[in-house]
């Protein structure tokens, strides 16, 4: 099943799904159930309650960009296993499985496209590939997207959806934070705008690096945007969590993002921003 149900618990991003899990096309908020084609037609948004189901990277690129305009870049960049990492299963095996299940070879896709005629560079993450975790390959792809945007003098649109750094690459995954930050600083120096779209979830190492450095940052409704997710905060501090802890709505209230934009309106919103920065 390629539209694998995505766990909202980022802390469990590598855990197999619990047995009682609902069908992926069943809305976790209101219980409405949809056929695949119904969900696709509604951009994976529940037409009953507005819940945003996860959207795959290629589907999102199709939605944002002018038909046929997307040209993928750095498609050959893939993960290695520098630590020979082995937990309950080898990292190499987890990677192969993720490739098979997602049809992607990494958790990010980059490339050139046009949006309403405006040329842009895109970097789009896909949470279904190992929880959107950032290892060396994701860091490299995002950095190359920055370089490509600089080279062509076009804005970068970065869509994030990630549980954080990819533990299986150890310290090298942590180094993707400063790596992508340095790439964004090169982008800033070249006066290239970066627009960030935070999808559910944008957490930990990705939030603590390039995702937070957009010139303009929008988020999808209900997206979890937190450095530390609710479960870990709860367990470590025993604090009582507010109902909307870490959600896009709380982040807007506290001033961390510019706007919450429902998926159906994102293309128009991006187009308007592209006109302003043109």
């Amino acid at each position: 099943m390629s539209e694998a149900r995505i766990d909202v618990q980022v802390e469990h991003k590598h855990a197999p799904p619990p047995a009682e899990k609902k069908h992926p096309n069943t809305c976790p908020k209101c219980g409405s159930h949809y056929r695949d084609d119904e969900l696709a037609a509604a951009l994976w948004v529940c037409s009953h309650c507005g819940h945003h189901f996860p959207m795959r990277a290629r589907a999102r690129i199709d939605w944002y960009t002018d038909p046929g305009s997307f040209m993928e870049e750095a498609a050959d960049v893939r993960s290695e296993d520098p630590l020979d990492f082995f937990d309950l299963r080898p990292y190499a095996e987890r990677l192969s499985e993720a490739e098979l299940n997602t049809g992607l070879n990494e958790a990010a896709l980059i490339g050139q496209a046009t949006i309403d005629g405006h040329p842009v560079e895109l970097s789009v993450m896909d949470f279904t590939f190992m929880g959107g975790s950032m290892g060396s390959a994701v860091g490299e792809k995002f950095s190359r997207a920055c370089d490509s945007a600089i080279e062509r003098g076009v804005p970068l649109i970065s869509v994030t959806s990630s549980g954080g750094a990819r533990m299986q690459e150890g310290i090298l995954s942590l180094m993707q934070l400063p790596k992508t930050v340095c790439a964004v600083e090169d982008l800033h120096d070249a006066h290239i705008p970066m627009i960030t779209v935070m999808a559910h979830p944008t957490t930990a190492g990705v939030l603590a690096s390039f995702a937070s450095l957009g010139d303009v940052t929008i988020a999808e409704p209900g997206a979890l945007i937190a450095f530390t997710g609710p479960r870990v905060v709860q367990q470590t501090t025993r604090e009582k969590l507010p109902d909307d802890f870490g959600l896009a709505e709380q982040n807007l209230r506290f001033g961390h993002i510019d706007a919450i934009v429902p998926r159906a309106e994102q293309r128009d919103h991006l187009t308007r921003l592209l006109r302003l920065f043109a």
């Binding site: 290695e80 310290i171 190492g205 470590t236």
Partner: protein
Amino acid sequence: MTEKDQELNLRQRLSGLSRLPLLRGVRVNGESERLERQLERLQADTSDEAIWRSVELARHADRPYTMDYVERFIDDWVELHGDRGRADDGALVTGLGKLDGRTVALIGHQKGRDVKERLDRQFGMAYPEGYHKAMRVMEIAERFGFPVISLIDTPGAYPGVAAEQHGQGGAIARSQAEMARLTVPTVACIIGEGGSGGAVAIAVSDRVLMQEHAIYSVITPEGCAAILWRDAGEAKKAAAAFKPDALHCLELGVIDGIVAEPEGGAQNDHDEAARLLRTALVENLEELEDTPGEELRRRRRAKFRGMGVFA
């Protein structure tokens, strides 16, 4: 691997080490006997046990903290408090002082020595306010041309409701961005725990060093074990798998050098640990000080942008 392969592997590793800017404090002071001992220890140091020993020593309750080093080798120390917005974060101290005659800006995590101080300083886990304070001091350094010294010793950034509401992720990102913009020399040393985003937030430096028994990692061994092994008790296995020790960080190109510690670990002799650290910091600063600021920044970004292993 056969025994022969293993020996060859170790030999290669050692010959590689002698070429690297390793064990500066030792080499500079010509203590060849100690150097030999260090190399011997490093040679034996491929075992999971040795990695776990570093995890324990990095967190040792008697290990010197940032302020122990400040007392020992920073003259005219003036601590600068507060982020000018919300608070003064005790988990991260900042200030100005003289190191070997030059004014430096120093940023360091600070754990507490007794229960009360530990609570006051949140066990060295900074809030966003700590990183805002660090950025403020980096700005002063940039304006006046002071080198920035970072001493890193944190289990990670503070994981709490208020920390999230005050923008922990964004603060860590922006602190790194600020470091990527500096045109002054920057040297960081991990002096204990280099825990994840909370550590790298102040470690985007021209030179990143690690003390011999420090650890640098993307997650705590317990956290990794809880997620991947579903059992925090498997921390030892997790540490062996993700290899947070100084030697592996050096091999992976993540750090630029290892700073020797006194026999048995820094906790045994704070004065000697400080002497070795001071020597390494000064030597690295001296190597950077003749390079124009723009060039420092260009090289720094190129260094970090080159990190990672992919096909």
